[in-house]
Subunit: 420 residues, 2 copies
């Protein structure tokens, strides 16, 4: 019972997890609720955009032939605003005052921006530059043509995608549904957040950190509570959790004699695929399935729990939501200090990131890498990956850093400095 | 009226905006709603953590002196689970079976993990290695000491911070409140999402893209609707919008004779600080204030609108929410092609990112950089910054790329490949 044979690499364990996961069904939602979801349908343009040749500038619609000499004084025959339809044809020696987005009038073949003109009177303007036909005109259908595919199924809905969906007037759309996720904490030593203070207990924090990790993925999980180390109570909780698409069990990854999670899951019909992964923190982490339901048993150490969530739960949940990109973005960063490592397990080191003078990234350990020290996780911008075969890294070495939630913003814009 | 003198650089314009912004008041919220907010109070530990010396492993609590010979056969006098209190003192020749997180019993000074032992009978175990005092013990207060500051005011609440807050049993906390934001679209040419299809109109999409950009910052804005180009209607809408902390006016940045936004804002008591910024896309972008309310007039072109939001509204709104990091993270990336540029305006080029063999980032233009082509914004991972003084970039040059929403994840983990 204490022997474990399946010690997998992180990559192999991720592959095992993903073999059991596919995108869920689709559902129809409102555009206002669509950010972060994934399209489960192909979206086509319902019109030409722009609907006719329009001005790209505020200025004057002209006949380019009138300006071959390098400019001219023209008579303004009409004002055309965005939303107007032109009423007149521009003849030789004439022009129309035109606003950005307004339709080009017949006869005109170019737009001169207002900065390159000099108003003489209300209906007379001096153009001071020549112009080519087509200048500052956006032609009909330039951005999209009626019937063209503008968004493929499987597209993540970003703000830009929301804009495209509004452009083709999609107030409702089909997206992959989000998995329903339950979190169960286990352990006699745990004190619930709302329970009275007891100095001898360990405050139960993992379910809240996991909740927040899920919220950051756009999922509102259900926290089932704390199962004490009694077989009946544990079985009742686990049974309830298996009704969800994903069950996260916090704690209960031990191989000690007191651990009931594994046999109870087996009794409930769960097939376990692995119980150990060659990684630090997070060595004892387990994954099982029952039908389409996934079960992850995460370590009780707060940091191990969060790191295992990042490596295994994030890609699984994102695939269920239909995302093509499953893994945290990694960036290359230069270590500011050496990192000791013996080959065997991949290691995830909590680091902060800073920019060097050349715009590259510098990675520095948050200090304590104790798997119990959650404050170091709270300070980290990312997880620096030391591969399982590494003999250690020297200061100045480049390494890959997985960017964590909260690292999407930085202190400076990088724009002011360019001027100095 | 057509002359504008205040043509600012992007950095100077950002500095102007930020001079008028400070963090808002604080409010008390529940831990479950706290992700992405910013702490408006100092948080201290309410206990030692761990509360006593505990085992870091599943294994046996031993006296290190018993194992100086390189191992020993010991009698198991007790089982100690996490949540138990030890009942016996470990004497010479004895040990206690102990679980991760369980308190170390009196007499023991080290833990041997179960993998380095051999169970002989239920109450007899062979230890096969020597051990140093303190081995695999997490000492009382190692992670936090009662009364210590564990989180400073101004800390962004990430999942790790949520975990720390739960550890110190903070079910409620003080955070900076989110600004209330209104979005107003302007223009006769616009067709509302819910309006019947009219091929001659331009679908109103900017307010939805801006809504989503705000949602990505954790803010649920109010969309006021479309103000047509009538002075009375515009004034009524703008007056309503000025009741919010931030008003975004989409369109109405033109300098043409038909534009009523600027004089109407002046009539309503708004002081404008700039109307033009030397940038592309987004040249006409305006910023004003009335009391503590901010007004941004964003270009009507969909891409210009989004890019100006990124450069000016993002840092303003994040400062109002108390965030220390105001700007999108920039990463260095290598251009896969040349970029033409004449000195004058900073340019923001929509790019996709890919990883090269060495783990560095490659940036490639999405193609059309027309400010009307929102589909290219939908495809972009980031905005590559070409500084205002640049003469252009060559293929292979390094440049900074601001990472956009939706770029936080990538296709591969980067972990499987390491093994090949």
């Amino acid at each position: 019972m204490l022997n474990e044979t399946k010690n997998l690499s992180v990559g192999d364990a991720q592959a095992q997890v993903l073999r059991h996961v596919s995108p869920g069904e689709s559902e129809e939602i409102q555009l206002e609720q669509a950010l972060g979801r994934v399209l489960a349908e192909v979206v086509r343009a319902n019109r030409d955009q722009p609907p006719f040749d329009v001005s790209a500038m505020d200025g004057f619609a002209v006949r380019s032939a009138d300006l071959v000499a390098g400019g001219a004084v023209l008579t303004v025959v009409e004002d055309i605003r965005a939303g107007d339809m032109p009423g007149k044809t521009v003849q030789s020696g004439q022009c129309a005052r035109i606003m950005t987005g307004a339709p080009l009038p017949p006869g005109a073949d170019a737009v001169i921006r207002v900065e390159d003109t000099q108003a003489l009177t209300d209906d007379c303007v001096e153009i001071t530059v020549p112009v080519k036909a087509g200048n500052d005109i956006r032609v009909r259908g330039e951005n999209m043509r009626n019937g063209d595919v503008v968004l493929e199924a499987g597209t993540e809905i970003t703000p830009g995608v929301i804009g495209v969906l509004a452009t083709v007037k999609r107030a409702r759309l089909q997206v992959y549904r989000r998995p329903r996720v339950a979190i169960l904490s286990t352990g006699d030593e745990l004190e619930a957040l709302v329970a009275p203070f007891d100095a001898s207990k360990i405050p139960e924090s993992n379910s809240y950190a996991l909740m927040a990790q899920l919220q950051a993925l756009g999922i509102e999980p259900v926290r089932l509570g704390i199962a004490r180390d009694k077989p009946d109570e544990l079985a009742r909780f686990l049974k309830q959790g298996l009704d969800y698409d994903v069950l996260l069990v916090s704690g209960g990854t031990s191989v000690g004699v007191h651990d009931h999670v594994r046999p109870t899951l087996a009794d409930l019909g769960v097939t376990m695929h692995f119980w150990r992964v060659e990684m630090r923190p997070g060595h004892p982490v387990a994954f099982g399935t029952r039908g389409k339901s996934l079960v992850f048993c995460l370590p009780g150490n707060p940091v191990s729990s969060m790191v295992c969530f990042e490596q295994f739960v994030v890609p699984a949940v994102r695939r269920m939501m239909g995302h093509p990109n499953l893994f945290r973005r990694s960036v290359a960063a230069r270590l500011t200090h050496p990192v000791k490592h013996r080959p065997g397990r991949a290691e995830f080191i909590r680091v902060t990131l800073a920019q060097d003078a050349a715009g590259g990234l510098l990675a520095t350990s948050t200090g304590s890498q104790s798997s119990g020290d959650l404050t170091s996780m709270a300070r980290a911008d990312g997880l620096l990956v030391v591969s399982e075969g590494s003999d250690g890294l020297a200061g100045g070495d480049m390494a890959q850093v997985q960017l964590l939630d909260g690292s999407a913003f930085q202190g400076g814009s990088g724009l002011v400095e360019e001027k100095s």
